[in-house]
């Protein structure tokens, strides 16, 4: 029900992002989707990848603070109001979206990656509303 997101802390400094990407390239880890936000001093790079465990191990060895986080990959159809509809369930349940970004899709569908305050509760809730969630296997099958 959850998928593993690879998160890396990077200093806001020339060349650091490229170093991270270089480690992943060396390790043959493919990036399926990513989000990067920054502050003046540092940023967090969050990624859905073909092999999050291998990516984390390689990054750690190269001295990066990298971790795996459980996130939800929510499948949506390309329709007006679809995302709002899903979020309305989340809001009504008193849950909070911590962050969200889009996942590229091959078909005529969209999907989003989101981290919701109480992950287990959110996953159960979305399932009960028949919202489709991708598993790690789905991600591998569809995108890799």
């Amino acid at each position: 029900m959850f998928i593993k997101q690879l998160s890396v802390f990077i200093e806001n400094q020339e060349g650091r992002l490229e170093e991270v990407l270089d480690v992943l390239r060396e390790e043959q880890v493919s990036i399926i989707s990513l989000s990067l936000a920054d502050t003046s001093e540092y940023g967090l790079l969050r990624m859905i990848t073909s092999n999050p465990e291998a990516g984390q191990a390689a990054l750690k060895e190269k001295g990066f603070a990298a971790m795996l986080t459980d996130v939800l990959a929510v499948r949506l159809s390309h329709q007006v109001g679809k995302l709002q509809e899903i979020l309305s369930h989340v809001c009504k349940a008193g849950l909070n979206v911590e962050y969200m970004y889009a996942l590229s899709n091959k078909d005529d569908e969209a999907s989003i990656i989101c981290k919701i305050s109480n992950g287990d509760e959110a996953a159960e809730l979305l399932k009960s509303k028949e919202v489709a969630l991708y598993s790690q296997d789905d991600i591998m099958r569809i995108f890799c």
């Binding site: 997101q5 998160s7 890396v8 802390f9 990077i10 200093e11 650091r16 936000a37 502050t39 001093e41 540092y42 967090l44 969050r46 060895e61 001295g63 990066f64 603070a65 990298a66 971790m67 986080t69 911590e98 962050y99 981290k115």
Partner: protein, 433 residues
């Protein structure tokens, strides 16, 4: 184990030896060292005026500057052909300071180091790996001969090539490590990266650390890496006085025992230069009373400490000097507040999410000082609010201790510079502006 009977003498016995040796030393330098005679004449004091130990304070001080002014051998009390060894300080600011030893000086030095090694738990059974840089620096050779004299097996591995150091440590069954606290941490880190856990895969149970401050927080970090059962003691010395061996901590960890039959410590107010009563904190001044080549009298060490004359639980009666807070040289004045880097270190090492390495950078902008501290994030995080909360925690704790606001720069693990000798963690860039 107590190495020498001189460590357990009564105060009266110690003082009798000190007075006799002080009188002899003062007489000798007055006769043989022109700059000393001149200083004493200016201070209107003669060797025969030294009638008891209190008269020591009538003698003029000697400083590092005096040593530079008399570079290289001007303060030596023996002819050059009696020297058997010459060392020098790094001399990062100006001319290096040069120190020399006669054959007897080396014997005494060795004796002093054997004593402090015994205080730190060393025995003839130990395999002692010396990870101090050999060369002109006194640290490595001082510990080398002191431990060898004791009967320990010496591995003179010096600094550098840390992976190989660790291989030796494992294969030779090293039980005792000599290093700066920061290099000891570095060795532990590298071992872990190699898949060797210092706690279980190595047999190092004694750490004799020196040449750099050992704060309690740093000792805790050493235990985390090397194991709770490691006895980590600090010892003190400086090449001007002899090298390591002036004082060392025993297993009670309650201050460093001074080898008082060779050195007389005093504490002065660094501004007024008045001697302070026992127990008060101030600058340490040391007089060498049993050296032939370079018997410095009232040398201003610039180290801040206090003295405790209570006999120790370990059985030694020699005076203890508290572990150092810092040097008068190291003190930073930031927005009018006195800050010792060791205070910052204590705060940073108390926060688990960041690593034991750090860098302090002081700059000036618009006539105001800016304190910036670089730290390494050891626990990965996936939320900005967690990172911000951590930053806030570091800032708050620093504010409590220093009364100052600092900027925190968090970086990835292993990005800050590692040191094999003395760590240089402070960059004061204000002077350059």
């Amino acid at each position: 184990m107590i190495w020498a009977k001189e460590e357990t003498m009564s105060r009266a016995e110690i003082e009798a030896i000190q007075l006799q040796r002080l009188q002899e030393t003062v007489k000798r330098v007055y006769e043989k060292v022109a700059p000393y005679r001149q200083k004493m004449e200016e201070a209107k004091v003669k060797p025969e005026d030294i009638k008891n130990l209190k008269d020591l304070r009538r003698l003029p001080f000697i400083t590092k500057q005096d040593m530079r002014d008399n570079y290289p051998f001007g303060l030596f009390a023996v002819p050059k052909d009696q020297l058997v060894r010459i060392h020098a300080s790094s001399g990062t600011t100006g001319k290096p300071t040069v120190v020399g030893y006669t054959k007897k000086d080396l014997e005494i030095w060795t004796e002093c180091v054997s004593r402090i090694a015994a205080m730190g738990g060393a025995t003839e059974k130990d395999v002692a790996q010396i990870c101090f840089g050999y060369g002109m620096f006194t640290g490595a050779l001082g510990l080398h001969f002191g431990l060898e004299n004791m009967g320990a097996a010496i591995v003179p591995s010096s600094t550098g090539n840390t992976e190989k150091q660790i291989m030796f440590m494992k294969d030779f069954g090293t039980t005792l490590l000599v290093a700066t606290p920061s290099y000891a941490l570095r060795i532990g880190e590298v071992a872990k990266q190699m898949g060797i856990d210092p706690k279980t895969d190595l047999q190092v149970k004694i750490g004799l650390v020196g040449s750099e401050l050992l704060t309690e927080a740093m000792r805790t970090e050493m235990h985390k890496l090397w194991g709770e059962d490691m006895l980590v003691t600090s010892n003190y010395g400086m090449s001007e006085l002899m090298g390591p061996g002036v004082s060392g901590e025993c297993e009670q960890l309650c201050g460093m025992h001074v080898n008082e039959d060779f050195f007389i410590p005093e504490i002065i107010d660094p501004k007024t230069e008045e001697v302070l009563p026992p127990g008060e904190k101030g600058e340490l001044v040391i007089t060498c009373i049993y050296k032939e080549a370079l018997p410095l009298i009232r040398y201003r060490t610039k180290d801040i400490t206090r003295l405790n004359y209570e006999p120790c639980k370990c059985g030694r009666t020699t005076v203890r000097m508290e572990n150092l807070d810092g040097r008068t040289d190291d003190m930073l004045k930031i927005r009018g507040v006195n800050v010792f880097p060791s205070q910052i270190e204590e705060v940073l090492l108390g926060i688990d999410e960041i690593g034991p390495h750090y860098e302090i950078i002081v700059t000036r902008k618009d006539h105001s000082d800016i304190l910036k501290i670089r730290v390494e994030l050891m626990e990965p995080m996936d939320a900005y609010k967690e990172l911000q909360a951590l930053e806030k925690k570091i800032k708050q704790r620093l504010r409590i201790v220093l009364g100052l606001d600092a900027k925190i720069r968090m970086e990835s693990p292993n990005t800050l510079q590692r040191f094999e000798g003395k760590a240089q963690r402070v960059k004061d860039l204000r002077k350059e502006v």
